[in-house]
Amino acid sequence: MTDLTLQLPELCLVALVGASGSGKTTFARAHFRPGEVLSSDAFRLLVGNDENAQDATNDAFDALYFVARKRLARGLLTVIDATNVQSDARKRIVTLAKEFDVLPVAIVLDLPQEVLTARHAARTDRPFGAHVIPQQVSQLRKSLSKLQTEGFRQVGVLRSEEDAASVVVTRTRLYNNLRHEHGPFDFVGDVHGCLPELRDLLTRLGYEVRGDLSVTPPEGRRAVFVGDLVDRGPDTPGVLRLVMGMVRAGTALCVPGNHDEKLKKALSGRKVTVAHGLEKSLQQLEHEPPEFRRAVVDFIDSLVSHYVLDDGKVVVAHAGMKEAYQGRASGRVREFALYGETTGETDEFGLPVRLNWALDYRGKATVVYGHTPVPQAEWLNRTIDIDTGCVFGGKLTALRYPEMELVSVDARETYAEPKRPLVSDQGLSAQQAHDELLDLADVTGRRVIETSLRGRVSVREDEAAAALEVVSRFAVDPRWLLYVPPTMSPSETSTREGYLEYPTEAFEHYRRAGVQHVVCEEKHMGSRAVVVVTRDDDVAVTRFGLREGSAGVVYTRTGRRLFNDTDMEAQVLTRLRAAFETSGLWDELGSDWAVLDAEPLPWSLKAEELIRRQYAAVGAAAGAALPAEVRALEGVVARGLPLTDLLERTREREGMTRAYVDAYRRYVRRVASVEDVRLAPFHLLATEGAVHVDKDHGWHLSTLARLARAAPDLIVATAHREVDLDDPESTSEAEAWWLDLTGRGGEGMVVKPRSFVTRGRKGLVQPAVKVRGREYLRIIYGPEYTAPENLTRLRERGLSGKRSLALREFALGVEGLERFVRREPLRRVHECAFGVLALEQEPLDPRL
């Protein structure tokens, strides 16, 4: 028995080649996982009900190739199990491999013809005669020598049944796959022979650089060079010596740059145009011994086009790497890594016009690259160019990973003049400029959004479609729309006589969830709004990417601007901004902007039209009809007819509708100027660098109370009680407080676990439930809802849909803020706000 091993790259497209009966399927089953093998027989069965249906062959291959494409796009090794004895069939496989930048591999089962004929005779299901076998064998034999030239990068031939049975198939890691390397890393931008600055930078990063250019990194760290070590600068040999030494010692990784490649060609004696600083490198290397020059050639030759590091979370390549090419190996992947994508045209400076692949980048991995000198290293769609033009008198920059911290040293001098001046765009960052317009493809269709609080939240296509209309027609500029607050569920329905909601059930809800400490907050009689406020107008430009300065924005739960009057909005924001100043909160929080969850008051500020058209009209109709009914009934009862019950009932109805009128009237206050507006903030959601969901509600309320003290004419503090659910005295005190509050016409209270984010026995706990006042509910459930026969029926209400929605929206809302604070691209923030508005399209009982 021969000791055979086939070493396959972990990602490749394998063509099994062999005549009918050569045992391909058996072989595939033995050496590959079931999903990896796409067999033409299996696809004939799928599309034609019979694995021998020869008339289904074309359809079967269409389907097979469709699946193969999906697998390769996902980066999965794939085996095509078909005879593949004809070169046409194999050509198709090689083309497919190229399309997905994976290596094509052929495994040939070249068994003796007698074996095949004997096997064919033993099978009755094959619809063709035995004469097919020699024909296929002859085709296969003719093919054998051609496989390499057809494009297969690796060919394994198994010539006997024994070989096929005993061969060991192993998988080898691709060179670019360093997923198991977790860093921490220090990515270093284009050095271009600037040895002094490289030493400065490494020293700054804590590396010890000795006189002989040997380097010791800080414990556990590794440098990663993004290429273009050479040309233009003062000491290319020194830089090479340093980097080669580190790579040899395992303390650095390096990917090749286009300049490095060209130097290698020149040193190898190939004909190249000596320009763009190459002449300097060659000149400097003249003085080096030939062994060093050879070592340089070998070093550059050994470099891998790009690396995928840290479980695929970060990719490094000289000129960047689009998502489809990451972790792939092909000529064009290498080209992309070295040169990026160009249009084939040249600009007014004679340089190739580059296509900015990063604009369209939507990949999950962070991409660190260089190649194009920029004045500042800036994030764009999770990519960052850290070539800050050191050799042109700029800076040498490093990115510390996973800290994501940029460290730069200034160039000691200008070693070369850039052909194209380094200028930045209009004061906006690259990401902000890119984000001015969002792309429709980033919001439409079915979406799955990964959240830190609740894993994946999915948005249905039709909900996204409905949200697109809402957002496009009514919402504020997406750059302001950072957060849309979640819906809030009421407490479980009370069975207490006369009540639909009562504190007991809210307390019980949290007790069951395993929460002991809750906060009861007064529910203000306003509308829900999100307030984004800036410390000064410029922050709207520098942090939010708007073209013009602004004090901020106040928008509703549906993303609409709350104030019709923009002057009034500006006045409210200016006063709020001043309150942050007076209370010292800007400095304390280290921020020049803030996002608040708040209730603007009165409700009629936003809803006067609604109150007039709906609530007042109903009151007017009831106020006209019921007294007339009572009078008519009084007449007939006076005549002695037995309609006393009806009269009583009608009087009660009249009383309930009067109470209803009182209930809506409490929400109406004339607003003539900003003096009549109040703002009751209850969450300080986010400021620079922080989403404050890690602080408990006590912190939120006391911090916001400082704003109220600073601006008592605008800001209203939220009355609240801290309640220990294990202490009956505490809960009955809160109950009495609620009764008092709602007895005086208040809307009710909101009960929240003391910590902002709470996980209970069944996962994430409702961030809040509301307990609404008996009188207030008349404007929700109808004026007469308190009549016993109505209340009985209204108690049958299901809360589970609302609860699930509240949690999903909560998770999305927090996720959006976290992304904004992390300075992620706007589309990633917008996706979350848009997602909440889409979820809001779910049909739910609006009374909840």
Binding site: V471, A621, A625, G782, E784
Partner: protein, 457 residues
């Protein structure tokens, strides 16, 4: 809700015979939404009143309305239906006084055939579309109409009057006619019905209004509203009337031909551009698409709108699923928004934005400019928008009002020209402004149109 009918005919208590209800007793009957009660608050030989009280169950009403009702989300639960006179009352009227409505009386047929002095009182009658409507409807039928409107809420007098009338009708009239008038005109004043309306509604209209509607000056309004604005029903009903005219009170102030003129003008420009692929951005229900489909020149047509509902209507109206494949294959309908970049819009020869820009907030208009002129860059772009100056010719619009609730702005000719010139120079287009519709010498055309051409096209 309540209706009382009083007579001063002597003996007034004969009203009991006429209505088949004994004033000495009360009657209670079940209705789909609650209970009806008939009783007499007063019954003397001089004066007798019969009251019809409908005790509506708000929970049942809300269940019938949930989902189907338009308006605010809470409208099914907080509404005037239990109180205001509406089709619920009409239904109860027929239930309670069916025999009287047919004109029959077992004991007093002569009285039933005679006009008697009656007073009908409705304490809360909605009068949608103006408080004078009750007068316009009942006066031609011979009633003395006393309509009193109350304040919507006395605590907030600035809100004005409520839409409900306290209505008293006095006339010498046959009882069956009074009941028929009320039966038909209550839901007409309310402009709504609580049930699904089909052909049988025409029969009811003919039965209860056959004798008087023909000559009524508000016949069209009555027909339209009674049949719940269903055009097919209305046309079928009109065949029964003489000399029906086409006057339509609900028509927009825009003359119907302006829209047609506008679409023709836009189609002309698109044809003239020579483009074979066109975009109709903000296609609405597909009026322009219909014209474009008829032109062989346009090989690929993309209709885009932001509203999924409107697109579904466009698909229906264009009968997209029934068109032959060769025609249908030329048209794609997609949802999209002009405030987002959209790769699907690239490469078209021409684009039309008919009455679209004014639906975007002015401070967000730059997104549309960049999406259309900056990114999609069709060779020709045709934009139409209202000319605000022309609004002065419409008496129904007060100064400063826009033609449509959702118009975020309407521009004068100077404003539009300035915008178009700036967009053209920013994005490398040339632009020509053209009038659409019948021009007013002083105020210009009702619609203004800008035709942009890309400079390198």
């Amino acid at each position: 809700m309540l209706l009382t009918i009083t007579t001063t005919h002597r003996p007034a208590t004969d009203l009991g015979y006429l209505l088949h209800k004994n004033p000495a007793r009360s009657v209670t009957f079940d209705l789909p939404v609650g209970r009806g009660h008939v009783f007499s608050p007063e019954a003397t030989p001089e004066r007798c009143t019969v009251a019809l009280l409908v005790e509506a169950d708000p929970v049942v009403i809300s269940r019938g309305r949930a989902g189907g009702a338009s308006g605010t989300p809470l409208e099914p639960y907080v509404n005037d239906r239990p109180y205001a006179a509406s089709s619920f009352l009409s239904t109860a009227l027929r239930e309670a006084f069916g025999t009287a409505m047919s004109g029959r009386s077992r004991e007093r047929q002569d009285l039933a055939d005679t006009a008697l002095p009656f007073t009908a009182h409705l304490p809360a009658l909605p009068s949608r579309g103006g408080l004078d409507l009750a007068g316009r409807l009942f006066t031609p039928l011979g009633y003395r109409v006393t309509a009193r409107a109350r304040l919507l809420d006395p605590q907030f007098p600035e809100w004005g009057e409520s839409p409900y009338l306290d209505l008293t009708l006095d006339a010498e009239v046959r009882l069956r006619d009074l009941l028929a008038h009320l039966y038909v005109l209550i839901p007409v004043l309310d402009d709504g019905k609580h049930y699904y309306v089909d052909e049988t509604e025409i029969d009811k209209l003919l039965r209860y209004a056959g004798g008087w509607l023909d000559a009524h000056p508000e016949r069209d309004l009555v027909t339209r509203r009674f049949l719940k604005h269903r055009h097919a029903l209305r046309r079928a009903a009109e065949a029964h009337f003489k000399g029906a005219d086409e006057d339509d009170e609900d028509a927009a102030p825009v003359a119907p031909t302006l829209n047609q003129q506008r679409l023709e003008a836009v189609a002309r420009e698109l044809r003239g551009s020579g483009a074979t692929s066109v975009l109709d951005l903000g296609c609405g229900e597909g009026n322009l698409l219909k014209l474009l489909l008829a032109e062989r020149q346009f090989e690929t047509i993309l209709g885009m709108d932001v509203s999924p509902r409107v697109l579904a209507r466009a698909r229906d109206r264009l009968k997209l699923d029934e068109l032959p494949e060769a025609v249908r294959g030329r048209l794609t309908l997609v949802q999209g928004s002009l405030t987002y970049r959209d790769a699907r819009l690239s490469g078209a020869g021409a684009a039309a934005l008919v009455e679209v820009i004014e639906h975007l907030d002015e401070d967000r208009l730059w997104t549309l400019e960049r999406v259309v002129f900056g990114a999609a860059r069709p060779g020709t772009v045709v934009v139409t928008t209202p000319n605000a100056e022309y609004n002065a010719t419409w008496a129904t619009l007060s100064a400063g009002d826009t033609r449509h609730e959702d118009h975020r702005f309407e521009w004068t000719r100077a404003q539009f020209t300035e915008w178009a010139a700036r967009v053209a120079s920013t994005f490398g287009y040339t632009v020509t402004i053209k009038p659409v519709g019948d021009e007013d010498e002083r105020l210009g055309p009702p619609t203004q149109m800008a035709v942009f051409r890309r400079e390198d096209s």
